[in-house]
Amino acid sequence: MTVKTMREALNEALFQEMRRDPGVIVIGEDVSGGAGGSSGSRDAAGGIFGVTKGLMGEFGDKRVIDTPISESAIIGLANGAALAGMRPVAELMFADFVGVAMDQIYNQMAKFRYMFGGKAKAPIVVRMSMGAGMNAAAQHSQTIYSMLSAVPGLKVVVPSNPADAKGMLAAAIRDDDPVIFLEHKALYSSKGEVPDGEYVAPLHGASLVQSGKDATVVTLGRMVSFAAKAAAKLAGDGITVDLIDLRSTSPIDEEMILESLSLTGRLVVVDESNPVCSIASEIAAIAAEKGFASLRAPVVRVTAPHTPVPFARELERMYVPGPDRIEAAIRKAVKGE
């Protein structure tokens, strides 16, 4: 184990898998960078967030492919290459850009296997940065997982820490289905212990970050650390919670959620997304449908408001669910009967 940033962990996973399997390729805008520039250096970028840094040097431009600003063609490239036998890792830079590539994601890659009678496989990873926290405003800050988790045929993962980032990216690349891999941009520089050497973590299944008795707190991505902060504060008042890191939003680990709920009887869902038809809604619905007998109080959803992501520091801070709001929500759930 070594302490690394999530950026380093992701980079390590790409090196690991590209060394292991010559069919793994990386495609996207500036995944290397520098082509046609006046300095003459390739790998001038290594991805806008530095996640693909260094790959060009080792694997060359047939496996690390810089592209024009043509997201439909980027995803199409991944789709066709996957059907023909490769394992492409496409980068979409910002999750918000799915809008210009959506058809290739939701009508093509997601449906190939089913429509084509089960004989095709589409082992594609689409990496995207997501989330608020950098004052990047309405078109560069969205969390896209609800929209994509709704699509049958896609798997969607949202790692919350560097170890998962490494292990789940490796697993996503090895997986035979299309995986949407969402990296929270405010977490790239966050640090954590990362297993050294070859490491693959399960792609599905939530993880119980800490256990308690008064409520079940289900969350994901950047919200995991915020919820943990809230939980730490509540522990001082003798309130303890099961804190579940979803890790994957498609599929959702219903079992762990329902089991925890059967012990705590109370549910708080913390989701950075807009509220409507969100993962928070889905989990609340699962509880209302399958965990009703356990529920002793109203479910509490903690989400962003039903507004675009605003720009100003003060606005974004109010927009993103923070530890205080989470703490208040847990108190509400625990007091509610």
């Binding site: 439909s72 199409g76 066709g80 290459a81 023909a84 490769m86 290739q104 296997r113 429509m115």
Partner: protein, 321 residues
């Protein structure tokens, strides 16, 4: 016409297969036997076959909503296609795909596509694999004239040029995009616009198998020389409506009739090869008879085949659960 007798007979057989398949679907659709949206390819056979006769299972094609012809030409089993279109459990896609989603990856057939412009970006990806293999294999996307206005297609063309891929963009101009003349939607001229992307354009008479076959030979020579992608543009017409049920108000009543009588791909093929004394008319007649019987049999077996059940509805969403 430097093709062997075998090649010529095979090409004729494929064109006849497509024609009979389509004419029969037209009937089956009218009678209500077949469900869903069906877009018939009849009239354009020389294009699919003229191109695909050059290809093997290592080469890839992507197709469109009007895909039966491409599928058959690329080697999909017509019987399994018929079962699919009948929505049977033993259809090529287990009855889940239907007319618009027929695919057979083992044959290099990457799918018909319900989305106009959906195929070309995918074929560009397959071309990347061909390039990496370096075995001379290529990827071909088929598209109608209307599809040439879709942003995804423009992006695919530019991407293929940037990456210098062994990719051929085929545009089949059948005169219409749904109910509108193809010329209306293309603001400039398609050949010039395509060239502007840096794609050499090979043109062919889409009613003439030999013209298409030659253009495809030229296109292949270009891409296999490592010169990057190119385009092949051919005109033909569709004999039926945009979809089955289309009243075709946009079309003069005699337009198809005249073309059928004067330009028909099978007719011209037959005339050419018999006049050149390459093939006897009787040989072609025998193929016609054989295929008529085969199609009849496909329909009969499709009618008897089992309907898909709930396990087919719920499976193959994911590879592992």
């Amino acid at each position: 016409m430097q093709q062997s007798r075998t090649d010529i007979l095979k090409a004729y057989r494929q064109m006849r297969m497509i024609r009979d398949f389509e004419e029969r679907l037209h009937i089956e659709n009218r009678s209500g036997e077949i469900a869903g949206f069906t877009h018939l390819y009849a009239g354009q056979e020389a294009i699919a076959v003229g191109i695909c006769e050059h290809l093997t299972d290592r080469d890839y094609i992507s197709s469109t909503h009007r895909g039966h012809g491409h599928c058959i030409a690329k080697g999909c089993d017509p019987r399994l296609m018929m079962h699919e279109i009948y929505g049977r459990a033993d259809g090529l896609c287990k009855g889940r795909g239907g007319s618009m989603h027929i695919a057979d990856i083992d044959k290099g057939m990457l799918g018909a596509n319900g989305i106009v412009g959906g195929g070309p970006p995918i074929a560009v990806g397959a071309a990347l694999v061909c390039q990496a293999r370096g075995d001379g294999s290529v990827a071909v996307s088929f598209g109608g004239g209307g599809s040439s206005n879709q942003g995804t297609v423009f992006e695919a063309m530019n991407m293929a040029v940037v990456l210098k891929l062994p990719k051929i963009f085929v545009f089949e101009l059948n005169g219409y995009s749904e109910h509108t003349g193809e010329g209306y939607g293309i603001g400039s001229d398609l050949v010039g616009r395509t060239r502007g992307f840096g794609l050499p354009v090979f043109e062919a008479d889409g009613f003439d198998y030999f013209s298409v076959h030659q253009a495809m030979a030229d296109a292949l020579e270009h891409v296999r020389a490592g010169k990057g992608p190119c385009a092949l543009i051919a005109e033909a017409t569709r004999y039926f409506g945009h979809f089955e049920g289309d009243p075709q108000n946009y079309r003069a009543k005699d337009e198809v009739k005249t073309l059928r009588e004067t330009q028909d791909a099978l007719l011209r093929f037959r005339r050419k090869v018999t006049e050149a004394k390459l093939i006897e008319a009787a040989e072609l007649d025998a193929i016609d008879a054989e295929i008529a019987a085969f199609i009849e049999d496909c329909v009969a077996s499709a009618r008897k085949a089992p309907a898909p059940g709930v396990e087919i509805m719920l499976s193959d969403v994911y590879a592992d659960y």
